[in-house]
Symmetry: C2
Subunit: 134 residues, 2 copies
């Protein structure tokens, strides 16, 4: 397999695992930016078992600020991971729930969570050893 890189029609292309990746418009980078934020993946996981209201999410994730809760929900809604429905009560209540896209993302996300839980100790150990040398 050829792993060289080059400019193809002015595009930066990186061969990774035999698949050409357009770095200028990279899907992986794009998705990673979405869920790589501090709260995004946790938000999706929190909604995995059913819809929740704004204040419920706030109580469920006590450490998040009101600002970041709003922003995270808006970003995830914008990218299609979740939907927002407003119930015209008094005072108003807003419910957030995963879309099909959001639910489908749970598959790789949960695998990632499992891996993290299984290998966290190994990582912490490696880190400690590295720091001990330095």
């Amino acid at each position: 397999m050829n792993r060289t890189t080059g400019a193809v029609k002015g595009k930066r292309v990186v061969m990774v695992c035999g698949v050409p990746m357009d770095m200028a418009n990279c899907p992986v980078r794009d998705v990673m930016d979405n869920i790589g934020g501090k709260w995004n993946s946790l938000m999706i996981l929190s909604l995995a078992e059913g819809p929740l209201r704004f204040s419920q999410l706030r109580r469920l994730i006590p450490d998040i600020s009101q600002r970041m809760l709003t922003q995270t929900l808006r970003d995830l809604q914008r990218d299609g991971y979740l939907s927002r429905t407003v119930y015209p009560t008094q005072p108003p209540s807003v419910e957030y729930s995963l879309t099909d896209l959001g639910r489908s993302f749970l598959v790789p996300l949960k695998l990632f969570v499992d891996w993290s839980l299984q290998n966290h100790d190994a990582i912490r150990k490696a880190r400690a050893e590295y720091d001990a040398v330095a």
Copy 2:
């Protein structure tokens, strides 16, 4: 299932998918910080098919700066994803290769890449629709 949150022995615990998550020392957050960087996951993918030298990686990923290449490699080595071996030639050559930990991470990572490639269009579409309304 109970999804309430609470202080357990002074720790912030969030119930997610039935699993209690300690937010103060969260493995998922820890791992996400490692590979959530701009170049980290791409670096691991680049080394998936075999060891590469510093300059080879530099050519393979043309957009990365020398500084970030060094830093990314050091961070990934520190957390145990890859190993660094120096060959005492003149001039010196340094080879980077995935460890067992790094290779095992390829499983969830590749699943994530596949999902990104499959759903990128849907995300871009959702984003366009959202922006059109606003």
